[in-house]
């Protein structure tokens, strides 16, 4: 750097990202945000101040070396930037798209105190996409450690753990109940936010590391966790089955035919491709006027999917816009796409059309009182505010619970709400069995699940007596990498340490 950057010398405006026009995009499932060009990315890197105290790194749940990757990117060393990113995150193309950056790294970025923060997520995505395009992946030579590791669930937690264990020389098998891997990234998050090709590319990297995927495998019922350890020869097991069991509210009319969970709508549409009905056999089963209850990411996805299927869509949420838990960008995109928001509105009854279908949603208006346990202001009903919203479909996106099958079929210790109990190392009550992601924390985020997968991998390696440096990485090119990090940069020894 020639001259030290200051808040006054950097580009004042955040580099905009090209987006499909709202009017256009509500007719397709193509990705909304088009991504930066190299020039745009380079311009945005110029906004980073390389703060010595690195607040963004501390704001990142997994501690990505953010200034480090931005610096390499700024030097047009995209591969170097990728290496820094993949030291910590396994799925930059995915996390760049779906992380709630505004409440993590970007939320604490120094630039953000004066101007719009550095667009860290967009830069991460740029680097991740470049890696997919260029086919970069560190595929090390892995000396088999002779350990067999089983992973249950192929969402971000399972996939992250699988990669680390494969890199440590273990024979890794990932078991997934659905016919395709990816967890929520596959069945929940729609294509216009996370294209299937991006997910496929990230998962293909794991296959190149030698990870075996066994889809159509319902662990617990086809075989139990106990059997994996005692009979099937798995030396360690990681459970990452997520928390996808949808809540329905206890209000009259909740079993009517037009009432569905957001998970059902999204699974039909994304995993089963119901949007192509009848070319794909699965129908979607929504009408023309949809009320989506909730304002988290799942709700936003359900609304925007419904919009693309040609429906008029309302959002019904009992708190105000400020409390909406969705990523800021999703909320913004939903607003652009013409969703009709009913804030401070609480549904109290789904109205029957006389044929077990839906004709509307009876609601009451709320106002915000004192902060509750979550720190958000508690919504309280306004007397005499009952009113009806006309709709033919009600989609509930009001929360989910632990997936129940493992709990039903294993002795593993659960907490009172059915989530798996773990200690600080993510070890469960069963020896050699670890757990992480939504099945431990309750519904959270992709990056936290991924972080848990990597943390579990560290614990599993300790449990198996594996040390990272035991692994030999074959150099296929001068700048070949270990976990994506060039050896000379961070001084990692990549030779086998004699026992």
């Amino acid at each position: 750097m020639a001259k030290k950057r200051t808040i006054r010398t950097i580009p004042q405006l955040r580099t905009a990202m090209t987006e499909q026009e709202p009017a256009e995009r509500v007719r397709t499932f193509g990705e909304v945000a088009c991504g930066y060009s190299l020039e745009e990315a380079l311009r945005e890197t110029e906004r980073c101040l390389f703060c010595p105290d690195e607040p963004c790194v501390r704001g990142c749940p997994v501690g990505i070396d953010i200034p480090g990757f931005i610096q390499r990117l700024g030097e047009r060393d995209v591969k170097g930037a990728y290496d820094v990113l993949t030291d910590t995150t396994l799925l930059p193309a995915i996390c760049g798209r779906v992380c709630p950056q505004e409440s993590q790294c970007e939320g604490v970025c120094t630039v953000g105190q004066t101007l719009a923060p550095v667009a860290i997520g967009r830069l991460e995505r740029f680097v991740g996409d470049a890696a997919i395009r260029e086919g970069w992946a560190s595929v090390p030579f892995i000396e088999p450690a002779g350990h067999k590791v089983g992973i249950v669930g192929s969402g971000p937690a399972g996939v992250a753990c699988a990669a680390d264990m494969a890199k440590a020389g273990c024979a890794v098998t990932v078991f997934e109940a659905f016919q395709q891997p990816g967890g929520v990234l596959r069945y929940g998050i729609p294509d216009f936010r996370l294209p299937n090709e991006v997910l496929d590319a990230e998962i293909a990297k794991l296959a190149r590391l030698g990870v075996t995927f066994r889809c159509n495998t319902l662990v617990g019922r086809l075989f139990t966790i106990e059997q994996m350890v005692e009979e099937m020869g798995f030396d360690a097991v990681f459970i990452a089955v997520g928390a996808g069991t949808p809540d329905f509210p206890d209000i009259p009319g909740a079993s009517l035919n037009g009432v569905i969970s957001a998970n059902e709508l999204l699974t039909r549409c994304n995993l089963m491709q119901a949007r192509d009905f009848p070319a794909h056999d699965t129908p979607v089963g929504i009408g023309k006027r949809i009320a989506v209850v909730g304002a988290g990411n799942t709700a936003m996805d359900a609304m925007r999917v419904s919009r693309r299927l040609g429906a008029d869509v309302m959002c019904v949420y009992r708190r105000s816009r400020t409390e909406a838990p969705a990523r800021a960008e999703e909320l913004h995109h939903a607003e652009q796409e013409g969703i009709d928001f009913h804030w401070l509105t609480d549904p109290i009854e789904v109205l029957d059309d006389g044929h077990h279908g839906v004709r509307g949603l009876r609601c009451r208006t709320m106002e915000l009182g004192e902060p509750d346990a979550s720190g958000r202001r508690r919504p309280l009903p306004v007397a005499g505010s009952e009113h009806e919203l006309e709709c033919d479909t009600v989609v509930f996106a009001i929360g989910t619970n632990a997936n129940p099958i493992l709990g039903q079929t294993s002795r593993i210790k659960l907490d009172a709400r059915g989530y798996i109990e773990v200690d600080d190392d993510l070890a469960t009550s069963l020896d050699g069995v670890f757990a992480g992601g939504d099945i431990v924390t309750g519904a959270a985020t992709v990056i936290l699940a991924m972080g848990a997968g990597r943390k579990a991998a560290r614990s599993m390696k300790r449990y198996l007596g594996l040390v990272d440096s035991d692994v030999v990485y074959q150099e296929t090119a001068a700048e070949d990498t270990l976990f994506g990090i060039a050896a000379d940069r961070l001084g990692y020894a990549r030779v086998k340490v004699p026992a």
Binding site: A177, F178, Q179, Q180, P181, Y187, D200, I203, A204, A207, F213, C215, N216, T217, L218, R221, L222, F223, G244, T245, P246, F248, A254, S255, N257, I260, S261, N263, E264, T267, R268, M272, Q273, F277, P278, A279, H280, D281, T282, P283, G285, H356, N403, P404, I405, Q408
Partner: protein, 285 residues
């Protein structure tokens, strides 16, 4: 493989014009499955996920048997396309809780229509547990009856009821059950699998007599793992997910009206898919 591997169909048998049997290779599944459980099947990558009850299994051959009735587009297409040597794109299970084959000393096992298939392994399990098994199966006519021999072999008493009297006694399964209950005052349990209307009638028959009644529900499903709630049913005062809480429930507690209404959810789409398939693709083999 990243996605599905395919599951080989080793045998296909046509039980009637509309009912066919598929024996599919999946040794692990054959080992794990218990009576009362079901699987979810996709015939091809663009297909739907449909639940099918496991009708039989052969652990030494490593196969499970499914009995399918060709009613909608998917099941008719499978009837047209699947032969021995072919394969299913996806097969996952066993799902749901197994039947509870417990203390009952005398049981009535009722299978109606396609329900004949999934009740067979339950009847057999009760027989093996030492119970006195009274089998009652119902069918519209003689041509639709299948597995009579197998059923007889695991029952101490056996009655067929047909709507038109072309086989067995003329009447609904409820008539057969009534006769059985007149002969035996000490029936401990009744298990009924078949159309919801039939299961409801069975439950109404046993309710005044206080006989424990188990029914197996078949709501619309997507994942079969508790993640969509499409399969929710009302049982007593609670809502249950049939795929993970069932599929068997106390017949006296099930809200059959709700189930019947919910089964109609996709009627227009099912009709559309079938009509389209019949006019466009059905003729092509």
């Amino acid at each position: 493989m990243l996605s599905s591997e395919g599951f080989e169909v080793v045998r296909r048998e046509d039980l009637s014009e509309v009912t066919y049997l598929l024996e599919v290779r999946h040794p692990e599944l054959a080992r794990a499955a218990r009576p009362g459980q079901f699987v979810i099947v996709m015939s091809h990558a663009e297909g739907e996920r449909i639940p099918l009850t496991i009708a039989d299994l052969d652990r030494s051959a490593g196969t499970i048997t499914l009995v399918v009735q060709a009613v909608g587009k998917t099941t008719r297409e499978m009837q047209r396309d699947l032969r021995a040597g072919g394969s299913l794109y996806a097969l996952v299970g066993p799902m749901g809780h197994p039947s509870h084959v417990g203390e009952a000393k005398k049981v009535v096992i009722v299978g109606g229509g396609l329900g004949i298939a999934p009740t067979y392994p339950i009847a057999r399990a009760f027989k093996e547990s030492g119970a006195y098994v009274i089998g009652v199966i119902g069918s519209r006519n003689k041509d639709l009856v299948f597995w009579e021999d197998r059923f007889r072999a695991v029952c101490d008493e056996f009655t067929i009821c047909s709507d038109d009297g072309s086989v067995g006694i003329k009447g609904l399964v409820t008539l057969g059950i009534q006769q059985a209950l007149e002969r035996h005052s000490d029936v401990d349990e009744l298990v009924a699998i078949g159309p919801p209307v039939m299961m409801r009638a069975c439950a109404e028959l046993t309710r005044p007599r206080g006989i424990k009644t188990v029914v197996s529900l078949n709501p619309i499903m997507v994942d079969g793992t508790g993640m969509c709630g499409g399969c929710r049913v009302k049982v007593g005062t609670t809502t249950k997910f049939a795929c993970v809480d069932g599929p068997e429930f106390d017949g006296h507690q099930v809200d059959f009206d709700d189930l019947l209404m919910r089964l109609r959810r996709f009627q227009p789409e099912e009709k559309e898919a079938l009509e389209r398939w019949q006019t466009q693709g059905a003729a092509v083999t």
